[in-house]
């Protein structure tokens, strides 16, 4: 029983990353009808927003340590981040410590900007071209973005730790009536799950309860009619693209403590996210979220030792296997809408 709960928890945090990326992909696909192969790169850029901010915050200058000398007799120097000078030492230190969560504030405008530029500058010209062309050009864009990041940040993963308060593990089992030490789970992964749930809830609330969201949903259902009503739907869709980029970016920001960001992390997630979108149903937002969590949990169950003993290697292929079965038996995916991409 404890093993099962542990695997569900494991699946939830992986599933949250899948769900967030797939949500963004579906937002873009549902609104603009574009298959965005550069979405993984957006996830990666988000992660590097966190790296950038934590580097910016720890920019420092040298200060003499009074009374201390090194072995040559010169005064000993110490690195003091500029932020200490502004906010004082203790507040400064905790700001640096909280760099990753703070990056959320930094990443949102950056990602929206990147998304809008991408849509206006490139994707806009590809609405009328076949899906294969959209795939190809965004694939090219993904390579370019990835290489730019590689040029500036190098090819090695850059460790970006979570705030000290969230380092370590949490005895989840004790909370729900198991003996202590049975189900232990890292804090940050729980934070990630909560954060993902919050973002997903916020996106749905935005679409459901605001006028803007209502118009966007109307546009997703019938773009032409909304346009005929005198609403500039293109502009709203552009904003939705920015929003989708921001969702991917935030997923990346919060993922940095779990997995040190490197320039090709986006590509690794992209393939899986596409599979998630297809399983959930192209263009269905709840489907993407549901499939994300479902596949995440399935994957972690498949990597249990007992399961691997029966079917070796199943943990490596379970997601693809499920995708193949779903595509062949339920071509629309779990919650796909009728008439979306049914060529």
């Amino acid at each position: 029983m404890d093993a099962i709960i542990l695997q569900i928890l494991n699946g939830l945090d992986k599933g949250s990353a899948y769900a967030l990326i797939a949500l963004g992909l579906t937002l873009i696909f549902g609104t603009l009808g574009v298959v965005n192969f550069a979405h993984g790169a957006l996830f990666m850029i988000g992660a590097f927003c966190a790296v950038t901010l934590s580097r910016l915050l720890s920019l420092s200058h040298k200060v003499e340590v009074p009374g201390a000398t090194d072995f040559l007799g010169n005064p000993q120097m110490r690195d003091v981040p500029y932020i200490y000078d502004i906010f004082g030492e203790s507040l400064g230190a905790s700001i640096i410590d909280w760099a990753v969560p703070l990056s959320i504030l930094f990443a949102i405008p950056v990602m929206i900007l990147i998304g809008v530029i991408m849509e206006r500058g490139l994707i806009k010209h590809f609405y009328k071209r076949p899906h294969a062309d959209q795939i190809l050009v965004t694939f090219g864009l993904a390579i370019v973005l990835q290489e730019i990041i590689k040029y500036y940040y190098g090819a090695n993963p850059i460790p970006t730790p979570a705030p000290a308060a969230f380092v370590g593990s949490f005895d989840f089992g004790a909370l729900i009536g198991f003996e202590a030490g049975q189900i232990i789970y890292p804090y940050w992964r729980l934070v990630y799950f909560a954060f993902a749930a919050l973002i997903i809830g916020a996106v749905f609330a935005f679409l459901q309860f605001t006028t803007f969201g209502m118009v966007v949903r109307a546009g997703m259902a019938d773009r032409e009619t909304v346009g005929l009503l005198g609403i500039n739907i293109d502009k709203r869709f552009t904003i939705m693209f920015g929003l989708a980029a921001a969702v991917a970016g935030l997923a990346g920001v919060m993922y940095t403590p779990i997995n040190s960001p490197n320039y090709h992390m986006g590509m690794d997630f992209l393939v899986l996210s596409f599979v998630v979108v297809v399983v959930g149903g192209m263009g269905s937002l709840p489907g993407a979220v549901l499939a994300g969590f479902l596949l995440g949990i399935l994957e972690s169950f498949a990597s249990m030792r007992e399961v691997i003993a029966i079917i070796p290697g199943i943990n490596q292929v379970i997601i693809y296997l499920v995708a193949i079965i779903i595509l062949l038996t339920r071509p629309r995916g779990l919650m796909g809408r009728k008439g979306v991409m049914e060529d």
Binding site: L136, F139, V144, V271, V278, G313, L327
Partner: protein, 398 residues
């Protein structure tokens, strides 16, 4: 000639001549000169040109004619390599059975994957093939280690139980050969400062490439090829005409899978090892890049694209900042540094960036790839046409 019309026959002839004299064409700069690093006429790279040319020709039969964009073609190449290496391990070091088995295995593999994937089209097809290829990669990397060698890859060993040639306990690991000709044998011709290398493996692969190129021309011009184009232009109409497109697309898929297997088998023949990374999905992406870059749906385009990408990969990636500085040494110092800083991100390790940008530009402005670019140029400068027969003789499939 050979059942081709005049245009195609001359195209084939030109390609044959280019391929036969490639060791000369690709080595235009004398040894020891500053430009010698741009020479591509060394066996390893020339072999890669023709092998990836075969891979891209095969991919083009599927994507160029039917419009089905497969993102998992590298899986067939990987399967072909594994099959060939196993043949070397178990049967003999002759490349013929190895390549034959590579083609057959890849074809069988393509038949299974194609049968399932082709039930869907468009983006779903791309993702299905991607899923299958990633699955094969993951399996080859982990569970199938006894067959694939896992992370280290499949290699020849001294004590392989080969039927012809037998196991040995000492000596060197034998080299793949073709009835006595070893694939890595080379002859060198020294003319003044120029050194030209003629490699057995290259010419072997080149002859196979010409044969596959010929076959692809025949497919393009056949009623079968016409049928595939009909699938691309309007599948629904084809259905209403009472024709079932599925067998045709499946046949195209299997043929292009066999081409990939052939390329994999040749790759293993040149260098008898096979690794799972050949099946990774970025490897599949690479053949897509090659085909699009050269010109999808054209005959010669994929070969050009393959050549261009492999050239960039091997030559541009070798340029470093010292070389750049020596090139721009004639500029004033400040300007020299500026120019070098501007160019540096695009060369050396950054060649992927150049590739990505070129690829995007091609997709945006030249959907017909380099071939279309050549045609446009030929159209702009009417007289230039005669000088660029390679481009002028091809027509896009559509």
């Amino acid at each position: 000639m050979f059942g081709l019309d005049k245009k195609d026959a001359s195209l084939l002839l030109i390609v044959a001549v280019l391929v036969a004299f490639a060791p000369f064409f690709l080595n235009p700069f004398p040894e020891g000169s500053g430009w010698a690093q741009f020479n591509a006429g060394y066996p390893d790279l020339m072999q890669r040109f023709v092998i990836f040319g075969i891979f891209a020709i095969g991919f083009n039969i599927l994507f160029g004619l039917t419009g089905y964009l497969s993102f998992g073609h590298a899986a067939f190449l990987g399967v072909g390599s594994y099959a060939a290496v196993w043949m070397f391990k178990l049967l003999s070091m002759n490349v013929i059975p190895a390549i034959a088995l590579a083609v057959i295995t890849a074809g069988a593999f393509a038949l299974i994957i194609g049968y399932v994937s082709l039930r869907r089209s468009g983006i779903y097809f791309s993702i299905l093939t991607l899923a299958f290829a990633q699955m094969s990669f993951a399996l080859a990397y982990s569970v199938l280690t006894p067959i694939t060698g896992g992370e280290t890859g499949l290699q020849l060993a001294l004590d392989d139980p080969r039927i012809f040639g037998g196991a040995a306990t000492e000596g060197n690991i034998p080299v793949p050969g073709f009835f006595g000709l070893e694939m890595r044998d080379s002859a060198q011709l020294v003319l003044g400062n120029w050194v030209f290398t003629f490699n057995v493996g290259y010419y072997f692969a080149a002859i196979i490439m010409l044969l596959s190129f010929y076959l692809s021309i025949r497919i393009f011009r056949s009623p079968f090829g016409m049928m595939l184009r009909a699938v691309k232009s309007n599948q629904q109409r084809l259905n209403y005409t009472g024709l079932n497109p599925r067998p045709y697309t499946l046949a195209a898929f299997v043929i292009s899978g066999m081409y990939a297997g052939l390329a994999g088998g040749l790759m293993a023949s040149m260098d008898p090892l096979a690794g799972a990374e050949r099946m990774f999905w970025t490897a599949s992406g690479e053949v897509v890049l090659m085909t699009i870059l050269g010109g999808v749906g054209t005959l010669i385009g994929p070969v050009l694209g393959a050549g261009m990408i492999k050239y960039m990969e091997n030559i541009i990636s070798k340029i470093n900042s010292d070389i750049l500085h020596s090139w721009f040494a004639f500029l004033p110092d400040g300007l020299e540094d500026l120019v070098v800083t501007l160019i540096y991100p695009f060369i050396g390790k950054g060649w992927h960036l150049t590739l990505g940008i070129v690829f995007m530009l091609v997709v945006i402005f030249l959907p017909g790839g380099l071939v279309q670019g050549g045609q446009k140029l030929a159209g702009l400068f009417g007289r230039k046409k005669a000088q660029e027969p390679k481009n002028a003789t091809t027509e896009p499939a559509e």
